[in-house]
Amino acid sequence: MAQGFTRTEILPALPPPITERGAVKWMRENLFSTPLNIVLTVLGALFVYWIVASSLPWWLNSVWNAESLSQCREIVQAKAGEGATGACWASIRVWWGAFLFGFYPPAEWWRPILAFGLLFAALAPVLYAGQRGNLTLVLGVVAAFLLVTLYLSQAPTSAFVMVVVLVAGLIALAQVLPGKLLWFTLVYPALCFWLLWGGSIWSPIVAMAGFAVLYAVFRLTSPLIGLAPAAGAGIVAAALWWLYLDVPLLSALHSMLPLEIRSINSDQFGGFLLATVIGVTGISFSLPIGILLALGRQSDMLIVKTLSVGFIEFVRGVPLITLLFTASLLLQYFLPPGTNFDIILRVIILVTFFAAAYLAEVIRGGLAALPRGQYEAADALGLDYWRAQRLIILPQALKVSIPAIVSTFIGLFKDTTLVSFVGLMDPLRGVTTILRADINWKGIYWEPYIFVGAIFFLICFGMSRYSMYLERKLKTDHR
């Protein structure tokens, strides 16, 4: 019988070999797993080294205070020796006002700042409907942001009073009736318009009163003649209000109580102020129009469908530039002789239509992705068309298409730079060209482009990350 030795107790486990743990394991698996990967890693590392080695000194030698490019270069040479290069951020420092506001008078900068801050106050009720805590938080942050930036931009005392009164009122409303805060969102466009373009305070009020007339006529007549005719009557009444009553009422009110701020012309707008005005207006109006167009394209009604398809395909088939040129050159032919309305408004209208056509296709994709059963279930519940769309179809279709919708928005915001071709001063081509033509800064190119590019990147990247967050949050399947 063979003698054997059997261990009776289990030995402690040895640590894995050095190549199978920690950083070494990670590098073996992620950087050097196959010959191809080794080559790729080496190439990638060389590329990173090349980028860093060639641009790091340039970043490190940045100059923030100088009067001109030559002075910048002298400072860099004095600091880092002969032949050294360095970024001259002083150009941005000198021109940052134009990059942000264009030729908007510096004394009035508090107005776009105020409008920008209040934009978030107007967005909050949409994003956090009825959530008292979040609403208060957003409004508090907006108030703090506004007070600091207004102080920095040496705003007049009246601006501070306005901020304090407005935000305090909104916070109070958020505490008592958070649902009613949506009214501020509805009023915001008129307020923003008045803040940016200035003029008499009565003009936005009288214009908004047109909507009140629409609503009043609708409510009064709908029990008598039904919903659809009442809506038509309301629209007609509002149109009559804007066509015939607006101007006389405005002058009457203005002569009674002349409350006005300095009015600013559209050609003084520029920089990121212009990009934001066009981008935000375009985004907020293109979504509803896009939804309507998508529904029109899915509709059973032949004429509605044909018109929607024709519009969508036409707009998607031509470059945005041609539409912008239409706004600047052709609109004068299509409108009654003698009419001439604001170029920014014209551009906004065409950019909105452009984005709406793309959104319509995106939303159509979402609608097509819904199983047929959803439509049939809505019908079976006895919902009419609009209720079925609002309660069953659109919430699902829009949720599916969130990523594509946000990429369209990003595209629209990036496309705001194209308005420079019709003479508006966008931050990219407009302001940068002026800066590069300035005798003091002739020959500068990296710094302004990097600055503008970085801001666009932050905004667009932020939007795409937010859409990914939203997508995850709303995801209900595959739990």
């Binding site: 698996e29 992620n30 950087l31 797993s33 990967n37 790729l40 890693t41 990638g44 590392a45 990173v48 039904g226 659809a228 005719p229 059973d300 009604m301 032949l302 004429i303 509605v304 018109l307 395909e313 036409f314 998607r316 088939g317 031509v318 470059p319 945005l320 530039i321 041609t322 040129f325 239409t326 050159l329 052709l330 004068q332 032919y333 299509f334 409108l335 009654p336 002789p337 019908d379 068309y385 990003i410 990036k414 496309d415 730079t417 194209l418 420079s420 071709f421 990219l428 081509r429 940068t432 020959g443 190119y445 482009y449 503008v452 590019g453 666009f456 990147f457 667009c460 990247f461 795409s464």
Partner: protein
Amino acid sequence: MTMATDAPKDGFRLSMLVYDTRYRSYTIQIVVLVLFALAVAWLLNNTVQNLAARGKEFNFGFLWQRAGYDIGQQLIPYNNDDNHFRALLIGLLNTIVVAIFGCIFATILGVIIGVLRLSKNWLVSRLMTIYVEMFRNVPLLLWILLSYVILSEVTPQPRDFRVTDEMVAAGEEPAASMMLFDTVAVTNRGTNIPSALFERGLGKLDLGFVSLNLDFWAILAVLAASVFINLRIIRSARATQEATGVRPVTWWKSILVLFVPVIALIVAMGFHLDIPTLQGFNFQGGILVAHSFTALLIALTLYTAAFIAEIVRAGIQAISRGQSEAAFALGLRPNRTMNLIILPQALRVIIPPLISQYLNLTKNTSLGIAVSYLDLRGTLGGITLNQTGRELECMLLMMLIYLSISLMISAVMNMYNNSVQLKAR
């Protein structure tokens, strides 16, 4: 949406036009149609009035007037005595040429980046993510302007290439040197590349309207014939394989058919390269490619490649792992798995958005205006428009041309979609 309702017992009432779902859709359509017709009539009426007030009339006769301006890049002969229509054609060709090159380069770059982004290599996939995010989130216009500025301000002047006797004696190098075996020179005036010349060329065939370069067409014809014969060889090989189970060896036949005739033709025509050389203050010989073209091409390629990379990545990720595992279980080798299982399915996901990217790229060529690239928008919608003052006609014509390009591309896409659509029930 229609609902089943009982037929009304008491005939037709006017209110049923609004409340009865059977008639409501007609009411809505008629209202929409009337409103649309009114809007169109209003616009047309305004246009007629405005044209009359300006003393203009609507006709395209101006297209046959003398253009009187020069275009730097011309693919078919043109001079400023030609008419506006020919200038339009030059612009259209310039649009198309930058779009085609852009699509090709963007596809190559985009596929490489999209595949590398899925690589297990941590460093490379991160670098590619940075690339994609950087180019997607910054306006295309910035990339166009930046590449143009860098090309025209950072590149050396032609005189920097000069090598003088003193420099040779002192052993000094010139400030700049040519690239790619001394055939390409990038200066601040443009990129000088070699051109192909034929000593015993076939000359040109003048058709009155256009003159055809016979050398080019001869090569193209021979290439097309070669490809056709090659297809026949492959088809007969496949037929043999299906009949006997053994595939005849065809690769040497393919190489022979594809390359030998073209090379023979080129040699017979006496092919040589015309390499640009520095003479005096400028480079002579070869072709001077303007920086506006190069900058536009670079920017369009880099920008669109980022989008294509995302499409390729999404397409590959859309194919579930089970597909490749099933193929391996059937005993297919990895490359056949790729060719027969993964690619056909991934392509179905990739191609439609890819083509819409091609469409975007084509429309984005109109941004060439930022660097004064004379494409369709630069000629017809730019100089011609400004010279003749015919905004309405020029814009309409330009939109129509862009629209027909787009519709053609989407027609191709729809044909493809129909051919690869799943036939499953």
